[in-house]
C-alpha cells in the first residue's frame, strides 16, 4: 500500500535513504541540502538504520569518504549543493573513473559568486562532464522516486557509475507537498543488496584501487567509462519499467507534455516545468499548439530521443537555468541543438537563460518566450539565439 504523506523534497530524499539503509553517509552541511544529513543523522541516532554517519569536515572529504566506503564494498551516499559540489569537483571525477556507484543528492543552488543561496542549475551543470549520471526532478515525488531508482542504475554491471539525483533548492527541497511513499520493504527489495565483484574488504582477494594510469592504458579506461555511460541508457529505462510495477509511476529520459501535435515547444529541466505546463495549457486554450519536454536524464544525454521528439516542431525554446558563458548559450541548449543537427527538417531553436540565483520564473515570462517562438515559426530563425529571460533591462 502506498503511503500518502506530505513532506518537503529534502525529507523525501532522507526518507528514501532511510529505506535503502546504506552503509556509509559522508556529509557536510550546506544550504539548501543541509536538512538531508540532519534528518538522516536523526535516523542514525534513533537506531533506525545501520549506517555509519561520517560528519566530515568538508565536502571534499565527504566525497573522498564516499569513494573509500564504496570501494571498500559498502553503499555510500551524500547530499550537497552549490559550493559543496564545487569543492567535490576533483573527487567527482575520481568516483566516476573508479567506477564507484555512489549516490549523491544534489539540491541545486547557484554557484558563487556573488554568493547566492537560491536555486539555479549552475552547480550540477558544471559537473555535467564529470562522468556522473544525472537525474533531475520536478517535485518532491520525483526527487523521492529518482533516489529510489538511482542505485539500481548505478550499480548495474554494465554501468557501474555514480548517480547524481538533482532537485531544485528551496522550490522543491523546502516546499511541503503531497507525496506517495512506498513501503520500506518494497523499497528495500527493489533496491536489493549491493554485491560488487571486487572490493577492498574482500578477504579472498585484496584489491588495489586508483592506479597511476600511464599513456599505454589511460585512453582504454576512458573508453570503457564512455561505454558505461552509453549502456546506462538502456538500464535507466529497464529500472524505470520495474519501478512502475511497484509505484504505478512512469519514468523515461524525459516527459513529453502535449507534444504529439505541438508546433512550438519548450525544453526545460526541474521545477519550472510545472509553471511551463500551466503556460502550455493556457496557450492550448487559445488554440495555439504548444508543448513541453521536461528533461529527467541529462547524463547520459538522450540525444536521438530528443531529436525525434522535436522533429515535427516548428520552433522550440531551450530553457537553461545555468549559463555556460560560452557566449552562445547554456548547456542544455548546446546539447539539444547538437542532437537536432542530424534532422532533415530542423526546428528553429532558441535559448533562454532563466531563473538564475533564484530569480522567480512566472507564467508571463514563459509566455513571452512562447510568443517569440510563434513569431520565429512564421518568419524563420532569428540571428541571435541566446537570450536572458526575466532580466531588468
Amino acid at each position: 500500500m502506498a503511503i500518502r504523506e506530505r513532506m518537503s523534497g529534502n525529507e523525501a530524499v532522507a526518507y528514501a535513504m532511510r529505506q535503502i539503509d546504506p552503509d556509509v553517509m559522508g556529509a557536510f552541511p550546506i544550504t539548501p541540502s543541509t536538512e538531508i544529513p540532519q534528518y538522516f543523522s536523526q535516523y542514525v541516532a534513533n537506531g533506525q538504520v545501520h549506517t555509519e554517519f561520517v560528519a566530515v569536515e568538508s565536502e571534499h572529504s565527504a566525497m573522498s569518504c564516499c569513494i573509500g566506503a564504496q570501494a571498500a564494498g559498502g553503499r555510500a551516499v551524500t547530499a550537497t549543493s552549490s559550493a559543496g559540489l564545487a569543492l567535490m569537483w576533483e573527487m567527482l571525477y575520481v568516483a566516476a573513473s573508479s567506477r564507484l556507484p555512489i549516490t549523491l543528492s544534489c539540491v541545486n543552488r547557484a554557484l558563487s559568486g556573488p554568493i547566492n543561496i537560491n536555486n539555479d542549475h549552475s552547480d550540477s551543470m558544471g559537473a555535467r562532464d564529470s562522468g556522473w549520471i544525472q537525474l533531475y526532478a520536478e517535485n518532491n515525488q520525483e526527487a523521492y522516486d529518482n533516489f529510489c531508482m538511482a542505485m539500481r542504475i548505478g550499480e548495474h554491471k554494465d554501468v557501474r557509475l555514480p548517480v547524481m539525483c538533482c532537485q531544485d533548492g528551496f522550490i522543491t527541497s523546502h516546499a511541503i507537498e503531497n507525496i506517495e511513499l512506498l513501503e520500506d520493504e518494497i523499497v528495500k527489495n527493489f533496491v536489493g543488496k549491493y554485491e560488487p565483484e571486487n572490493y577492498l574488504l574482500k578477504k579472498e582477494n585484496p584489491l588495489s584501487v586508483g592506479p597511476y594510469d600511464t599513456v599505454a592504458y589511460y585512453m582504454e579506461h576512458k573508453k570503457q567509462q564512455a561505454e558505461a555511460m552509453k549502456n546506462a541508457k538502456a538500464v535507466i529505462l529497464e529500472v524505470a519499467k520495474d519501478f512502475e510495477k511497484i509505484s504505478a509511476r512512469k519514468y523515461s529520459f524525459f516527459e513529453e507534455y502535449k507534444m504529439d501535435d505541438a508546433e512550438v515547444a519548450m525544453v526545460i529541466i526541474g521545477s519550472s516545468a510545472g509553471t511551463a505546463k500551466a503556460v502550455v495549457d493556457s496557450l492550448r486554450e487559445e488554440g495555439i499548439k504548444a508543448g513541453l519536454i521536461k528533461i529527467r536524464v541529462f547524463r547520459p544525454f538522450p540525444a536521438s530521443e530528443i531529436a525525434k521528439a522535436l522533429a515535427h516542431v516548428k520552433a522550440a525554446a531551450i530553457m537553461d537555468k545555468a549559463d555556460s558563458f560560452s557566449g552562445c548559450g547554456g548547456p542544455l541548449f548546446a546539447e539539444v541543438r547538437s542532437a537536432c543537427y542530424g534532422l532533415d527538417s530542423k526546428p528553429v531553436l532558441v535559448n533562454y537563460i532563466y531563473g538564475l540565483g533564484g530569480r522567480d520564473v512566472v507564467t508571463t515570462d514563459l509566455k513571452k518566450a512562447f510568443n517569440k517562438l510563434l513569431e520565429y515559426a512564421k518568419k524563420g530563425a532569428p540571428e541571435e539565439t541566446y537570450y536572458h529571460l526575466g532580466v531588468r533591462e
Binding site: 552503509d23 556509509v24 559522508g26 545501520h50 549506517t51 555509519e52 561520517v54 560528519a55 566530515v56 569536515e57 568538508s58 571534499h60 572529504s61 565527504a62 573522498s64 569518504c65 564516499c66 569513494i67 573509500g68 566506503a69 564504496q70 570501494a71 571498500a72 564494498g73 559498502g74 555510500a76 576533483e90 573527487m91 575520481v94 573508479s98 577492498l200 574488504l201 574482500k202 578477504k203 585484496p206 584489491l207 588495489s208 584501487v209 586508483g210 592506479p211 597511476y212 594510469d213 600511464t214 592504458y217
Partner: protein, 310 residues
C-alpha cells in the same frame, strides 16, 4: 616478546620488491617498517596520498601492495580511509566481515602537513580506528623538490631557492607532531630509522594496536631533494636524532615520553654537512645561519624535554 629484527624480517613481506622508488629513499623503508608491525594474520587496507610513493608503487597494471590499497587524490588520504574504515564498521555490524582489518594511510609531508592537513585533522578528530603515517622528506619531492611547510629554515628547495638576496627557505618547519598531539588522540609518535628499526617498529605497533586514531611522523629522507649519497640514508637519520633535529618521542594517551636521549648531543652542523641542500649554510660568511639553526634546535629540544618531564 623482545624485539628481534631478524625474526621480524622473516615475516611475509607485504610490500613487494620491484617498485620504482629511488635507491636511498626513506619512504619504502618507512612503509616496510610500519607494515612489519602488523600481526601476519591481520588484514589491512592502505590509503595513499598522491606522491612519489603512489606513482612508483601502483602503476597500472602492477601493484607492489599485497594488502588492499586505495589512492584517490593528493589531499584526502585520511578522508578516503575514514570512508573505508566506516564501511568496515557497517559491514562488520551486519556480519558481512569477521576478519580483523587494520587501516593505514601513508602520505608525504606535502599530502600531510599542507594540502591534506584538513582531511587529516578531520579524520583524527572523528576518532576513526586508523593510523596515519607521514613519511616526512621535507619538501614536494614528486613534483621536483618544492618547499612545503615541513621544509626547514634555510633549506634550498626549488620554490625557496638559495639566491644572492634570499638564502633558501625563510620560515621554520611546522611542528606537525605536536599539532597532532594537540588533537588529543590516543597515540602520536615521532620516529625515524636508527640502528635496528626498533623505535619505528615499536611505535608502529602501538599506533596500529591502540584503539582509535593514531598519528605517526617518520622522518624519511630523500636523496634527490636533500642531496646525499644514497648509502648515507641511515647515517643521516641517525645524525638527525643525535643532533636533536628530529627527536624520538611519543604522546601516549596524553603522556609525553621521550624515546631516546643522546648521550652527547652533537652539533647540528654534523647533520647539515651531509646534505647538499644546506651547503650554503656551512660556507664562510654564513655562520649566522648555522647559529640560528642551532639555536632553534636547542630551544625546541629544551621545550620537548620539559614536556617529557626530563
Amino acid at each position: 616478546m623482545a624485539y628481534n629484527l631478524r625474526e621480524e624480517l622473516n615475516k611475509p613481506e607485504r610490500f613487494a620488491a620491484g617498485h620504482r622508488m629511488c635507491a636511498g629513499c626513506g619512504a619504502p623503508v618507512a612503509i616496510r617498517g610500519v607494515l612489519r608491525a602488523l600481526d601476519p594474520q591481520d588484514k589491512a587496507v592502505i590509503a595513499n596520498a598522491t606522491g612519489c610513493l603512489e606513482v612508483s608503487t601502483f602503476l597500472y597494471p602492477y601493484t607492489a601492495w599485497q594488502d588492499s590499497y586505495i589512492h584517490t587524490a593528493f589531499e584526502c588520504a585520511a578522508a578516503t580511509l575514514s570512508g573505508v574504515q566506516s564501511a568496515y564498521e557497517a559491514m562488520k555490524k551486519q556480519g558481512k566481515i569477521d576478519e580483523t582489518y587494520k587501516f593505514i594511510a601513508f602520505g608525504g609531508d606535502g599530502g600531510t602537513y599542507d594540502i591534506g592537513f584538513q582531511s587529516l585533522s578531520g579524520a583524527m578528530e572523528r576518532g576513526h580506528d586508523m593510523v596515519y603515517v607521514c613519511y616526512d622528506n621535507e619538501a614536494y619531492m614528486n613534483t621536483g623538490i618544492q618547499r612545503s611547510s615541513s621544509t626547514p629554515r634555510f633549506a634550498d628547495a626549488t620554490t625557496s631557492p638559495v639566491g644572492s638576496a634570499i638564502p633558501g627557505k625563510q620560515q621554520n618547519k611546522k611542528n606537525l607532531t605536536e599539532v597532532m598531539a594537540a588533537h588529543d588522540i590516543p597515540y602520536v609518535g615521532q620516529t625515524t630509522f636508527i640502528s635496528n628499526f626498533k623505535d619505528l617498529h615499536e611505535k608502529a605497533r602501538k599506533a596500529l594496536y591502540t584503539e582509535g586514531a593514531a598519528f605517526l611522523n617518520v622522518m624519511a629522507p630523500c636523496p634527490r631533494g636533500w642531496r646525499y649519497a644514497t648509502e648515507d640514508l641511515m647515517e643521516i637519520c641517525k645524525l638527525a636524532v643525535e643532533t636533536c633535529v628530529w627527536p624520538l618521542y611519543e604522546v601516549d594517551h596524553g603522556k609525553w615520553i621521550l624515546s631516546y636521549k643522546p648521550k652527547e648531543k652533537l652539533p647540528v652542523s654534523e647533520y647539515l654537512k651531509k646534505q647538499g641542500r644546506f651547503a650554503h649554510v656551512l660556507k664562510k660568511g654564513n655562520e649566522w645561519m648555522l647559529e640560528e639553526i642551532q639555536k632553534g634546535v636547542d630551544e625546541r629540544w629544551e621545550k620537548l624535554l620539559k614536556k617529557c618531564e626530563q
